[in-house]
Structures are given as C-alpha cells and as structure tokens.
C-alpha cells in the first residue's frame, strides 16, 4: 500500500477519499443543526444521549479527527510538492488561462476553514464533549442553550458565515474533483458531477448559515 504515499495518484486518492468522508460528516452535522430550529430538547437529547461521551461517539470523533488530520497533512504535502514542481522561475506575464477561482485556491480556502474549525471546536466541542470526557468542571449538557448563547453575539455569527462561505467554495471544487480523482468521471458525467457538487455544497452551507442566522434572530426552538 506504499503507493498511497509514494505515487501522485495514490496521494490524491487519499486526499479525495478523506475529503468525501468529511463531506458525509458535514451533511450529518448540518442535519443535526437544523433540529435547533425546531426543538431544543430534541437537540439536547441527540447531543447528550445519542452522542455525548458514549464510546461510539468518542470512536466517531476520533475517526473524524483522523480524517481531518489526514486531509490537512496530505493537503500540505501536495501543495508543497506542487510548488516545487512549478519551479523557481515564475512567469512574468501572469496566467490568463480561465480557471475556476476555487480550484486554484483550495489551500487558502482550507486555511480559512481550519481557522473556523478551531474557533468552533473551542466554542462548542470543548465545552460539551471534551469537558465531559475529561471530567473538567463546567461541562455543558444544555448544548442548545450554549449554541443560542454563542449565536446571540453578532461577531460569532459573522465569523461562522465567513467560514461557511469558505467551505462552500472549497466544496464546489472539492466534490467533483474528488470523484474525478477516484476515476468516476467521463464526458457525460462531468457536467452532472459538477452540478451535483454545487447542489451538495449549497445544501450543506445554506443549512449551516440558516441555522446560525435563525438562532441569532430568535427563530429557533419553534416547536419547543
């Protein structure tokens, strides 16, 4: 299996599969957030009973963390190798080749998302699962209330939306590119996959943004 490290296509497959796995996680996370709009109690039940500090939630968290670490690590390796392959001399006339903006800026977009994720983990995950797991005092079991508190601050909502917009650009290229890399593409499917990628990234990011704004404006816990 050394080709997953030594071969360019192998490295890209790792990047592609870890990315696709994280897209699945994002879809799940977004669905769970949408519950906030309807009922806080259900959200807390899901967060504490279904997830919480149960062994399966911890295993799940570790797998997701592994996915994130692999995706970032390979992203850095690929970017460094690509800069080296480009050579020392840069073009004086800058490239006029039309390309999708996001496709050229995946690394920068990834950095935006990483900064956002660190903020998010500190604000939410650290307060909930982490504190409970390591028996640090002040672990929050009222997850919905915590979210409502955080999102009542405007700067938090703005920061999150910036993160989600970065994510949207990252995913619009990432989705079809990942499928292309594992070989699932041809002249017929190219357009379909790109459209599908736009739909998936819009659903994910719009879901997150709508929840953040709804909670901020008080349009949440509607059935509570």
């Amino acid at each position: 299996m050394s080709w997953l490290i030594n071969s360019s296509i192998g490295r890209k497959v790792v990047q592609s599969l870890s990315g696709l796995f994280l897209i699945l996680f994002l879809l799940f996370h977004m669905c769970m957030n949408v519950v906030l709009i309807f009922n806080y109690e259900t959200y807390d039940f899901l967060a504490n009973e279904i997830l919480g500090a149960n062994w399966w939630a911890i295993v799940g968290t570790l797998i997701i963390a592994l996915g994130v670490v692999i995706h970032i690590l390979y992203g850095i390796i690929l970017t460094l190798q690509n800069q080296k392959a480009r050579g020392k001399d840069k073009y004086a006339s800058s490239s006029k080749t039309p390309q999708a903006w996001s496709s050229k800026n995946m690394f920068v977009l990834g950095l935006v998302i990483l900064i956002f994720v660190l903020l998010h983990l500190y604000q939410m995950w650290y307060e909930m699962q982490f504190k409970e797991l390591f028996h640090i005092s002040g672990a929050r079991t009222d997850g919905a209330q915590l979210v409502a508190e955080k999102f009542s601050q405007l700067w938090v909502v703005v920061a999150y939306i910036i993160g989600f917009i970065g994510l949207w650009f990252h995913l619009t290229h990432g989705f079809w590119s990942a499928l292309h890399t594992v070989g699932w593409n041809n002249t017929v499917w190219m357009k379909r996959i790109k459209v599908l990628g736009n739909i998936v990234s819009t659903i994910i990011c719009l879901g997150f943004i709508v929840v953040a704004i709804a909670v901020h404006l008080g349009y949440s816990n509607l059935l509570g």
Partner: protein, 251 residues
C-alpha cells in the same frame, strides 16, 4: 484587413541551463499582421544578427501544428492568446499596433530551460519509454471485422492520440503536472484491444516515471485542457486515475 504594425517584444534571454536569465526588450517595425508569430521571431533574429547580436533561440520544426516542437508562453498563455492552436499557427493579426508582447519559455521543474526560450522536454520521451507503447507482436493484418471496436471507443482513442506532446499542459498547470499528457498517452491505448493487454503495466510505469521526473500532483484546475492546442479533454485524466487504481488493486 491585415496591416503592418509596430510592436515591442519582451523576450526571456538565458545563456545556459545554469545561467541566470533576464528579459530583454526589442522594438520591431512594420511587421505584417499576415505573418506568423514565428516569422516575426525570424525577423527579430535577422535584425539581431544584422546588429551583430546573438539571435534568440526557440524551438520549432514543422510549423503546421503537428510536430509538437514549438512552445513559448506568450502574454500569459501557452501557445499564445488564440484557441486550439500551437505557437507556429499563431498569427500577428492577434496583436495590435503598439502592443508589448511578453515571450517566455515553458516554466516547470520538469522542463529546465536549455537556452533562451528553448526547454528540455526529454522528460516526456522518458515517460513514453516507460510504457507508452504496445509491445505485443500483432502479426499480420487481420480481417477488419475480426476485432470489433465500438465507434465511440475508436473516436475517444483517436481524440487522445491527437496529443502532440508539446508540453503546454505542464506549462499552463499551476502545479507543473504532466497528468494530461500521460492521461492522453495511456487512454489512446487503454481504449483499444491491442493496448488493453499491457494497460495495467503501462499505467503504473508511466505514472511512476512522471512522479520520478518531478512533475506535480494534479489538482483538477483544468488549465491544461483550456490551453491544450489539440483539445485533449481532462476526462482522460479520470480514465488514467481509473486505469492506475485498477492496476494497483489487482496487485
């Protein structure tokens, strides 16, 4: 109508592979818009020779867009601003009176500059030598109907085979990746029965050689496809990925 134009050309001059290069600016008067870009460079070189200076070195051969010898990164585009042509097919009518034209060599770690605008593209030959051929003895000419090939496959193989190996894909790629070239060369065989026999070996060896020679990792920006003078589609890259993965999983 074609006019005579006055232009300024900014050309990359570099004495050798290890020397430090720089741009030099030349004025050219009364260049017919009907002349080709390479003819313009010929006129420039004649002017330089008459002035007792060293002419600009650039690659060219057939001058009809089929040999893959000409290169040049012109005003931000490999093979210049026109679509689906090589540099030798580029005409001066694409430029206006008073324009400054920047002419650079392909820039990529895989294609080191030999001199001025000429780069070393033997890396592509090495990739082909690694597996870009059919080594089975096909014997005499069989009956045309004995090996039926679907029309779509034949067309796709022919489209991939249109690659002339000029290296514009590498020059356009922000990652200096040679994936479009390798994908075209793998595809032209992988689609046909004669090529299928060695498909797994070919994909693995050509990709390994490409990586070894210092080309970058493809990130699917699609710049190669846009600048390719022969319109090679990046769906060939998906096929190469497929062929490579199939080969690896078979091991």
């Amino acid at each position: 109508m074609d006019k005579d134009i006055n232009i300024t050309v900014k050309v990359w001059r570099q004495k050798g592979p290890k020397e430090k290069g720089h741009f030099e600016t030349y004025e050219l008067k009364n260049i017919s818009q009907g002349s080709s870009f390479l003819e313009m460079l010929d006129i420039l070189n004649e002017q330089l020779i008459n002035e007792g200076k060293v002419p600009v070195v650039f690659d060219h051969d057939c001058r009809e867009g089929i040999c893959g010898m000409c290169s040049l990164y012109i005003n931000g585009h490999p093979h210049g601003p026109d679509e689906d042509i090589t540099t030798c097919q580029l005409h001066m009518r694409k430029f206006n009176d008073g324009d400054t034209i920047t002419v650079e060599p392909w820039r990529s770690a895989g294609f080191p500059v030999i001199r001025d605008l000429m780069v070393d593209r033997t890396a592509f030959d090495k990739i082909i030598q690694a597996g870009g051929y059919v080594s089975v003895n096909t014997g005499g000419v069989p009956d045309a109907n004995s090996i039926p090939i679907p029309r779509h496959d034949a067309e796709a193989a022919m489209d991939a085979a249109a690659c002339i190996g000029c290296g514009a894909c590498v020059a356009a790629c922000k990652n200096g990746s040679a994936m479009l070239f390798v994908a075209a060369k793998v595809s032209q065989f992988a689609l046909l029965p004669q090529g299928k026999v060695e498909a797994a070996r070919r994909a693995k060896r050509m990709v390994a050689k490409m990586d070894e020679l210092g080309f970058g990792n493809c990130t699917n920006t699609g710049a190669c496809e846009v600048e390719c003078p022969k319109n090679i589609s990046i769906t060939n890259i998906a096929r190469l990925n497929r062929e490579f993965l199939k080969a690896k999983f078979k091991d």
